[in-house]
Amino acid sequence: MGLKSVQMVRIQDMTLEQKKELGVVAEKGLVAIETHNSEYTTKAVTITNGIVNYILTGN
């Protein structure tokens, strides 16, 4: 199953509770919050290699 949706957010704009829930450890930068349609799970990808790499590889 493919991805259903992605929201790009700044880590600085997230609450501590949200960061803990999604397992985000970085203090700043961008996070892609991916919601998968297979079982409605949410995964946070901290973008460390730039947004072009994220678009192309998902990392």
Partner: protein
Amino acid sequence: MGVNFLFSYEPVSKALNENIKTDFALVSRECIQKIGEIKSDVSDCDLWLTGQARDKIRDQLNFDQQIRFLSTFKEENKTRGVSGFNITSSITESAKVLSYMGNVLVIVPEEEKSFVPNSSRIITITPSEFLFIYEKSRLSYEKISNKRQSFIEVLLFVLIEDELRTILLQQKSNNNGK
């Protein structure tokens, strides 16, 4: 007021095509990466494409890449469906619309610069020029000991000021000629 980056079709299309290894593609990729870093620092900052360019680039990507691409680049759709506008000419109108919200940096290839005239809100620049000014501004910013301005404010100051931008781009041109 925010800062918006509006890209023409070529830089994004080339940056997202791993098979293209030209200087323009590599520089465009680096330019987008830097703008992504700016986006992570600035609360009111978005990356935009015209609807026509966004559709065409989306079609070159696989399904998962499309989802990630569409979440990264917003659509400015003023000329979507309007006859007489194509993938190149639509960027002028999109830049104008985005300029109502704040400063707009329009990233285009050299041959498209004349399509989007600079104004007090709109700065049209190539990926290579953007990277040069970004690096210069970053070096200057790092030298400031007691920072009261954010990096984006320093960068915008350099980009907006016609004379300063022209001098720096002349310096870039001279460096390339050596």
